[in-house]
């Protein structure tokens, strides 16, 4: 289910798509939220 669309649009290349998980480099994320917008199944959300 990890299709990788989020990684394809991440302007800072911070998302690693593994077979059964996604690995985010949170430290360098600028919270542009493009990854959240493109997810086909709304699987991503901004951390509170």
């Amino acid at each position: 289910m990890y299709c990788g669309e989020c990684a394809g649009v991440c302007p800072r290349s911070l998302i690693e798509v593994r077979e059964n998980s996604l690995k985010f480099d949170k430290k360098n994320c600028k919270e542009c939220t493009i990854c959240i917008q493109v997810c086909p199944v709304q699987a991503l959300a901004k951390e509170e």
Binding site: C3, V38, P40, V41
Partner: protein, 394 residues
């Protein structure tokens, strides 16, 4: 642990396997890796390929991976009016076969292995660095990290590819160039013609289209691609709505959900750098109009494999040497994509009403006599505004 090879291919989809096969056939020592435990699964596409494309690649269709042979296309306007295009009446370059990708992708990887490539499954590429005349890729398999020293690395790792970016290529896609796709494989689908694929246009799939691709019996891939810049809803929400409202899927049940990004902005401008090439979805080698990428990816794989093997023979892995791959891709794939990108922009500019009126006009045309002049005549009749938009694109 350090492994040395001539060519490392990252990703064993159709592009990667084609690259690996042709590099190996031309004498290179090749390793191809895939992060998944099972090559080809889960599928990320509607599984359609053209007969013409397979023929060009000299791949014989096999009953092991062809689920349905198609003879027609049905284009459906927002008001439900259908335009039937039949292979007997109109030359349909995209008409062809519906594959079982889980089987097809494995068979293409097997072809690469038979040609001499070494395949490593469940192996993830985590990073890449340049040292002297070589690239060193950091890989991980079953929790263990190791490095591969390669003369050439080929990134065939899909739209989420990061290897090219790590080496300075601009591969990040803007949301307007990435279709967000969701698809069910469904049973109990009742199609009007199970030998035709169906495309639905308009607000049913903002910025893209919906499809029903028959896979034999009452089974079909039912899906859609949208641009998230054109709608507030997710692709999955649009898919649920489409399934709920489409007459063919009233009693259908899903047996599989597929999601994925489809890079539809045209081929990337830069496909190579020193020691490195991009192929397939990682290079946006996807037809911008249809969203189909299997044939283009495999064709690019042939060029990448041949160029990589020649570079290894000559001991020259520079961007200049590898640019022959870029030239062949631009000449044989890029030119068509540029034209289709214009047609896509035109289609996306049409309102539901304009699409309806065009589909209505087609009901009066004898399709065996259709030509450009006839098409323009009909467009003038039904929608001068639509024709004006078309004119602006060329």
């Amino acid at each position: 642990m350090l492994i040395e090879t001539d060519v490392l291919v990252i990703g064993a989809g159709p592009a990667g396997s084609s690259t690996a096969k042709h590099a190996a056939l031309n004498g290179a020592d090749v390793i191809v890796i895939d992060k998944k435990s099972e090559i080809g699964a889960p599928k990320r596409c509607a599984e359609g390929v053209s007969k013409e494309g397979l023929k060009k690649l000299k791949i014989e269709p096999s009953t092991r991976w062809v689920t349905r042979e198609l003879s027609g296309v049905r284009l459906i306007a927002p008001n439900g009016t259908g335009v039937w295009l039949n292979e007997e009446k109109v030359k349909l370059p995209e008409a062809g076969y519906i594959l079982e990708r889980k089987v097809f992708d494995k068979h293409m990887a097997m072809d690469a292995a038979r040609a001499g490539a070494k395949i490593m499954v469940k192996t993830l590429a985590k990073g890449i660095r340049r040292e002297g005349d070589y690239l060193f890729a950091t890989l991980e398999t079953m929790g263990e990290e190791f490095e591969v020293k390669a003369k050439i690395v080929v990134g065939a790792d899909g739209p989420e590819s990061r290897m090219g970016r790590f080496l300075g290529l601009k591969t990040t896609l803007k949301p307007k160039n990435m279709e967000s796709c969701a698809q069910f494989e469904m049973v109990n689908v009742k199609m009007e013609d199970p030998d035709s694929i169906e495309f639905y246009f308009g607000s049913v799939a903002p910025g893209g289209y919906a499809w029903i691709f028959p896979k034999g019996d009452d089974i079909a891939n039912v899906g859609l691609g949208i641009l998230t810049t054109e709608t507030d809803k997710s692709a999955y929400d649009h898919l649920l709505e489409f399934v709920k409202n489409n007459p063919s899927t009233q009693n259908a049940q899903p047996v599989e959900l597929n999601i994925g990004g489809d890079p539809v902005g045209g081929m990337l401008k830069e496909l190579v750098t020193d020691n490195f090439m991009l192929v397939g979805d990682a290079a946006s080698q996807v037809n911008p109009l249809t969203g189909g990428g299997i044939i283009a990816a495999m064709e690019a794989g042939v060029y990448a494999g041949e160029v990589a093997a020649a570079a290894v023979k000559d001991g020259d892995y520079s961007a200049k040497k590898l640019s022959k791959y870029q030239e062949r891709c631009e000449e044989n794939i890029g030119v068509k994509f540029k034209r289709d990108l214009k047609v896509k922009d035109y289609l996306q500019s049409l309102s539901d009403e304009e699409l309806n009126s065009i589909a209505d006009a087609f009901q009066d045309i004898e399709l065996d006599t259709i030509n450009t002049a006839e098409l323009i005549k009909q467009l003038i009749k039904v929608s001068p505004k639509a024709l004006l938009k078309l004119g602006k694109l060329f």
